[in-house]
Symmetry: C2
Subunit: 220 residues, 2 copies
């Protein structure tokens, strides 16, 4: 184990020691402990001592693995963002085939991925305001999603399926923001929310209206 690092750590360089030392297990144990605790109570109500005990170690030892409580969350978020990126995948490359179905799939995957890790995502949304690292990592994911959407809108316009209008990037930001906030309201319950089973339909409808000025995009 290299001592406490900035938590974005992906590959852990190791010295002349064995490829996997006891420390790896501990680190994983802390991560697992955190995700489990997060399903029970809010991030702010979890102390480092809780995290440490949950992983079977003492508080000072925790600091050997992570520099702070936030760093644990950041590592957790790091994993989720990888999944989220993978989820976006190439859905939008095959947009011309069946626009409605593909856009729906994108929105659906967004919800699925974040829903699967809602405890982590919800915690990050709370910490985002106070922790710059989390804020940046989160912003980076959003940026990638926005970029994919922007590109897809551009392609639809180029093939004549969607009319010109707002700059594609601005439109992509607005729609992605809508999804993010609606998702959050649904799971965090901090505002008027759409029934969970209707969420995707509602969002899709607005997306199609904004992109195609119609509820039903023209087929290829």
């Amino acid at each position: 184990m290299t001592p406490a690092r900035t938590a974005t750590g992906t590959s852990t360089p190791r010295g002349r020691r064995a490829a996997r030392s006891a420390g790896d297990d501990r680190e994983l144990a802390i991560l697992a402990s955190a995700e489990r605790l997060l399903r029970q109570r809010a991030f702010a109500d979890i102390s480092i001592d809780d995290l440490a005990r949950g992983a079977g170690i003492s508080r000072p030892t925790f600091y050997f693995y992570f520099p702070s409580k936030d760093a644990v969350l950041l590592t957790l978020l790091d994993r989720v963002t990888e999944e989220a990126d993978a989820a976006a995948g190439d859905v939008l490359d095959r947009l011309a085939e069946d626009p409605r179905a593909r856009w729906r799939e994108l929105i659906d995957r967004f919800h699925e991925t974040f829903g699967a890790h809602r405890a982590v995502v919800l915690a990050c949304a709370q910490v985002r305001g106070t922790n710059a690292e989390v804020r940046q990592l989160w912003a980076a994911v959003l940026e990638r999603w926005v970029h994919a959407i922007e590109t897809a809108i551009g392609a639809e316009r180029r093939r004549g399926a969607a009319p010109d209008g707002l700059p594609a990037r601005d439109l992509a930001i607005a729609l992605n923001s809508m999804n993010e906030r609606v998702w959050y309201a649904t799971f965090a319950g901090d505002g008027p929310a759409v029934a969970e089973r209707d969420v995707v339909d509602v969002l899709l409808d607005v997306w199609l209206a904004a992109i195609y000025r119609s509820s039903t995009p023209p087929p290829a």
Copy 2:
């Protein structure tokens, strides 16, 4: 002064004492101190001692006026929400006159009101995740906005200006959520943002597309 109350307090019942005692000034001083400090640093980085010293009192005395740091923020939010409600006003009642202009006015006022108190609103957004009272008060404001929008959409449909489609409430929630998140990204910089001068135009465009399935609603 009544001793520490739950901060939503509007009217302060007083005993046989004078109508305005020294305590009122102190309470106002704390509020002013908080709003000033909030413009300089994050809510989490402001201690109760900072708030108290900023108001020229000691920390224990602070507790005579507010039960906690969060309660101060809640009181501040309470004021902003009153303004926000007033801002919405009757804009949407005169929608038939000039739909595009009225919707634009609504979105504009949303931005103006929140922009004028961005320090407080930003702080609330951060605390929202951990404080149930703030979360509820916030949700209540959103609910009122959503309700106003929902009603307006219903009216537009009834007069034949807007086509049927999504339940008006779901549409209202989605659009309002979009505005909220886009506003937040613009001022908190925690994600891809639209240029500040374009924000209203971008949002309006999506609103009109979603409500009227067109960029230009039919005139009365």
